[in-house]
Symmetry: C2
Subunit: 375 residues, 2 copies
């Protein structure tokens, strides 16, 4: 572990004071902001997340608001996913690519009204991309970062906790849908979503000063549910096959390489940036794809740089970009990309990790429990 030098440039969130009172042990930086990465026991936090409920400061998921008569046209331009049937209060995972089909971000778009969208972003300045497009095309839109900081409530007891604070209406929210619910007289957008596979909600807190009252209300209501402060958990997200922009995919990758082809419809009538490049890639097929890997042997060190994946003959056939020991699977779980010819599940490849070269088994994502595989 290395220290982080804090300054205004690495922005705090409405919840930072509470996060520090809860004993945050490590931050990462995401969208120029502090994201709690660990409270000191990642494996314990992973197990707790799968059994109870956690409150996560994910204010780093900044919103890019696109508002105005051309909002729908412009958001559609920004993704190869067809948004033609999007309904108000619906959330869409939208790969976002540049003119050559390289991933710029993989945000969730929320249609708040026919002329108003929030783009809830991964770690890159989508605001700048959107502003550039809006200016270049002279779209009639406002593009800005509103004072909105998502707070996630994740885990199997999330619905129970949320119902205590927001009322039973939360139970009716379907996956990737949202609605406005009242907290202390304020209507907040609440969606059933979040960066874990354990279920839960994200509350879009649209007033910095509301952060601590909401945090406190959730902890007061959840004491008997073993509610804890948490954050996106590396173990759980790799097990669940949740990709991380900047880790598992970059501008070098097309959505097809990232296993996101099902969200792309470049053949459709939509006009989007990167359309021609994506049609080309879809026709030819990707030359590498993302996969899970079970890396055998002792627990791997932290994956700070891509680790080469080698064939039996020692040829480089891919790279690992996220890896961690999974107590639940009793092996190291990893995410990486493999070249054509080496990506079929079950194949054995070699991982050139910093400490030693280890064998690994290619798998599908998300990882399946041994008993699930047999069943």
């Amino acid at each position: 572990m290395t220290n982080i030098a804090l300054s205004r440039r690495l922005r705090g969130t409405p919840f930072t004071r509470r996060v520090e009172e809860a004993g945050v042990a490590a931050y990462t930086v995401y969208n120029h902001m502090l994201l709690p990465a660990s409270f000191g026991d990642p494996e314990g936090e992973c197990a707790h997340l799968k059994e109870h409920v956690q409150v996560w400061d994910v204010a780093v998921e900044r919103q890019v608001e696109v508002f105005g008569p051309d909002a729908e046209k412009m958001v559609q331009l920004m993704t190869p996913r067809d948004l033609g049937k999007a309904e108000v209060n619906q959330c869409f995972y939208i790969p976002m690519v540049d003119e050559r089909g390289g991933m710029l971000n993989d945000p969730v778009a929320i249609k708040l009204a026919p002329d108003r969208f929030w783009i809830s972003i991964a770690d890159s300045d989508v605001l700048y991309w959107a502003k550039g497009l809006a200016y270049g095309f002279r779209f009639e839109v406002e593009v800005f970062e509103p004072d909105v900081s998502p707070l996630a409530v994740q885990g199997p007891k999330a619905e129970t906790l949320m119902a205590r604070v927001f009322g039973d209406a939360v139970r009716d929210i379907r996956f990737f849908r949202g609605r406005h619910l009242s907290f202390e007289g304020r209507d907040l957008f609440v969606a059933r979503s979040g960066y874990s596979k354990q279920g839960g909600f994200e509350i879009y807190v649209d007033d910095f000063d509301l952060g601590e009252p909401l945090w406190d209300a959730l902890f007061a209501a959840g004491e008997d549910l073993s509610v804890r402060a948490g954050g996106p958990n590396l173990i759980e997200r790799i097990e669940g096959g949740l990709l991380s922009y900047g880790n598992d995919m970059t501008r070098e990758n097309t959505p097809y390489e990232c296993g996101l082809g099902r969200f792309c419809d470049p053949w459709g009538s939509i006009g989007c940036v990167g359309r021609d490049a994506l049609i080309r890639v879809e026709r030819d097929g990707p030359s590498r794809v993302i996969r899970g890997l079970r890396i055998h042997g002792e627990r791997v060190p932290p994956c700070r740089t891509p680790w080469p994946i080698l064939s039996d003959g020692g040829e480089r056939v891919g790279q690992v970009t996220s890896a961690v020991w999974s107590p639940a699977f009793d092996t190291n779980v990893a995410i990486g990309m493999l070249d054509r010819g080496y990506w079929e599940p079950g194949r054995t490849v070699w991982i050139d990790a910093p400490d030693e070269t280890r064998p690994a088994e290619v798998t599908t994502l998300p990882f399946e429990k041994p008993d699930e595989q047999r069943g």
Copy 2:
């Protein structure tokens, strides 16, 4: 201090291994990359920088390359500074604003050829802004991030050290000019520039694998010059009045508020984003400006969030955004913005720091030594 959780997303640089061998004590994150913030003794590092020479890993100053027939037109669109007289191998500090004149970045542009520019960026994804504009305007340009990682050599002995490695030709390079010089048979762009007031150079290392050989050559040649690993030093940069994007200015601020009006010529014949908004601001004058502040009393804690500046009557009249104890000035030095009516040098204001409210004196930037003030 808090730990930082490392991952591929917080990219290492060609020099990271050497930086860690040199005992880096804290990182900050800048353009999704690791920037050494301290080697354990910021005050000692500041004093050393003023007397000797340091090698800084500033690979975080990523380059946005704009290449093609429309390159000059596009770079000019991105800044209110008139680039009409820019010569090849010249560097320009260019405030970059959005459609309403809000600062998006304050990079240095380098004209490598009439149709080829590097934009050496502060901490925001200028690449996305440039790509959006290029796409929207259908400019005939390529916009991309090349494999270029600047390495800075800073301090009064920088020229001596550089001459030993690159030859005496470095001595002829004027401030904010550059030229290609040979290292191990490779031509690297070297400019007289850098984020300190102690003089020096920046080497644009355009091959990741050249990083360690160059680092090692500088340290081998500089042993008798007391060469050390370093990084942008908070104390020295505040004393010198060097602004930090994201700390001292954000999208909320116009260049005029930041004291950068001398770099803006919106009245000129140039067509730039934000022109009309900037003309308006220049005519009306800014409503707040950036200033130095000598904060009295004991050493201040780290400035993680803006500290309110209060008038004698307790009214909020500004905010401090960077602050640190300066051994050389025997006071806390700070940078902040003050509202109209409160910004004249010599005025006393009150700083609402987290530990206590302290009096402070408004000053010009850069800070002047007591004897310089009297002289």
